[in-house]
């Protein structure tokens, strides 16, 4: 009888210890895998995020290299100001996901062109289009402009910019980025 009591108490103790240990373990940290990719394509395949706004640079004669630029179509994936206005107050309190996604896309283009010199001209063209597009979110334009300033002397690719298309805010922000 004594042995049964001891055994019962021991099992009860183990059960309580296990319950305390496991009760706080989360189910999982939810993982959104919609963006898991390593290849160069728009961050999100969600058609809602594919922008249809026209790029503000209106060229009547598009150079053939512009048409063939492998990165230009990604401009549509960068966040525009209207996208921010559709977010909730909670979503904008810290950096919105769409701005981080934009940063990731720019980073991928930079990384790809960094490892493959043949892609650098196209990458710089992309950064220029991004910096000069008044519809794109200011923070993203600043990142693109920062890339141009950093990479022109490194990649040695001249990339003249249109002053009238780059506001003082974008210019100022671009200098604050490391």
């Amino acid at each position: 009888m004594k042995r049964i009591t001891v055994l019962f108490l021991f099992i009860l103790g183990i059960a309580l210890v296990s319950w305390n240990f496991w009760k706080r373990d989360p189910q999982n940290v939810s993982q959104d895998l919609s963006q898991s990719n390593t290849s160069m394509r728009p961050i999100s395949n969600d058609s809602e995020k594919v922008k249809t706004h026209e790029v503000s640079i209106a060229d009547t004669k598009i150079p053939s290299s512009d048409k063939q630029n492998q990165f230009n179509h990604f401009i549509k994936s960068l966040p525009i100001i209207d996208d921010l206005q559709n977010l909730s107050p909670e979503e904008v309190h810290h950096t919105p996901e769409i701005i981080k996604d934009g940063g990731e896309l720019i980073g991928r283009i930079h990384a790809e062109a960094d490892s493959d010199a043949t892609k650098r001209v196209d990458a710089m063209s992309f950064f220029k289009k991004c910096a000069e597009d008044e519809q794109i979110v200011t923070a993203i334009r600043a990142v693109c402009l920062n890339k141009i300033y950093k990479l022109v002397p490194v990649w040695k690719i001249p990339t003249p910019l249109s002053d009238s298309r780059i506001s003082k805010d974008v210019l100022k922000l671009s200098h604050k980025i490391p």
């Binding site: 373990d25 701005i99 720019i106």
Partner: protein, 367 residues
């Protein structure tokens, strides 16, 4: 047999008490899932142990640090974060405590607090619950607090240091890359801690360094997601991220760019003007208004009878015109964001770098 019963009971009790724990002096509530606690501990340990070599030039003065190194950065955080609670912790009901008869500092509250419309009902990433308790308590003239760490923790200052952390703080899609424990993700999460910790500072009209409405013309116009201070939560967020990024050893080009986007975004929230229109836009607006004003002046003169509606419209347009003139004047006057005195109001405790370092070292030894 008595020994076995005693040991079983002790084991049970000790495990139950570990559901709530302290790390480096910070109380981590049992409402935080175990996996999140591990990440929080690692992040804080990373901050403390970081051999900072490159520092952003503004960081030291902005955060009033005597030195920028791991122990000092941890001390800055520790003086503003004493309790971390999980998303499931209810800030109302049984957890809430109040005390009447408390005398709050006789300082004004921020005007934007009184006009605030977007009170978040759900935590997604992180919030400074302590500052919120202090501000709402002062507004209602009741000392508010929460039941934490087996006691009532009241908020006699925004510096009480209660931070609520949500699932969003750990979500892959809201971080920098897929590796939860990567250096880049630690930097992102720590910058959020710096941001929320800053809300525990300030006094009088800038108590809590609460955000103000972004002006017309700003990307986030209409949202309470801007600030007019040079050392507010977004500014601290930006410089902390910059400093940690400058010292990141394993950040890829993608990581750095993504973090750069968050830095640019944070800085873009620091706005001192009431509007962001350009001179050209304002002049165009004023020319448009002037043409319509000129018409109404002529029309009213020619048709004085029954012109009440036109007179009213003229007055409205003249008011708009005056507003444009004021905005133009503001544009032509250089303004810079002000650095505010970050000292918090109310009663609070600050510990030395030695003390917070000692707490961290003990926890690291136990880890």
């Amino acid at each position: 047999m008595k020994k076995i019963i005693g040991m079983t009971l002790m084991l049970t009790l000790s495990t139950a008490s570990e559901a709530r724990e302290r790390f480096a002096g910070i109380y981590l509530d049992s409402s935080i899932p175990a996996s999140q606690i591990r990440i929080i501990k690692d992040d804080l340990a990373y901050l403390y142990s970081n051999p900072i070599k490159d520092v952003d030039s503004e960081f030291q003065s902005m955060a009033e640090l005597t030195k920028v190194d791991g122990p000092h950065l941890y001390n800055w955080v520790y003086n503003r974060v004493k309790y971390i609670i999980g998303e499931e912790y209810k800030l109302r009901g049984r957890n809430a405590v109040t005390k009447k008869g408390h005398t709050f500092p006789a300082t004004p509250l921020p005007p934007s607090l009184l006009k605030r419309t977007n009170r978040y009902e759900r935590i997604s990433i992180m919030s400074n619950a302590g500052a919120e308790l202090y501000l709402t308590g002062k507004l209602a003239n009741v000392l508010r607090g929460l039941k934490l760490d087996n006691k009532s923790v009241f908020a006699p200052s925004p510096r009480v240091g209660i931070i609520q952390v949500g699932e969003g703080h750990f979500l892959e899609r809201l971080l920098i890359n897929k590796e939860l424990q990567s250096e880049a993700n630690k930097i992102k999460r720590l910058s959020t801690i710096f941001h929320e910790a800053r809300h525990g500072d300030g006094h009088s009209e800038h108590v809590g360094f609460i955000h103000s409405k972004c002006p017309p013309g700003h990307n986030l116009s209409g949202f309470d997601a801007c600030e007019a201070y040079s050392n507010g939560a977004y500014s601290i967020d930006a410089v902390a991220t910059k400093t940690l990024l400058l010292n990141c050893k394993t950040c890829s080009i993608e990581d750095k760019t993504k973090l750069s986007a968050t830095i640019a975004d944070a800085y873009s929230r620091v706005v001192v003007r009431s509007h962001l229109k350009t001179e050209a836009q304002l002049l165009e607006e004023m020319a448009t208004y002037q043409r319509v004003i000129d018409f109404y002046i002529g029309f009213i003169a020619a048709n004085p009878k029954g012109a009440e509606a036109s007179i009213k419209e003229l007055e409205r347009l003249q008011k708009q015109m005056k507003e444009c003139e004021a905005q133009l004047k503001e544009l032509k006057t250089p303004v810079h964001p002000k650095k505010m005195d970050a000292k918090p109001e109310g009663s609070f405790e600050e510990v030395s770098v030695e003390k917070s370092s000692s707490l961290m070292k003990s926890s690291l030894l136990r880890k």
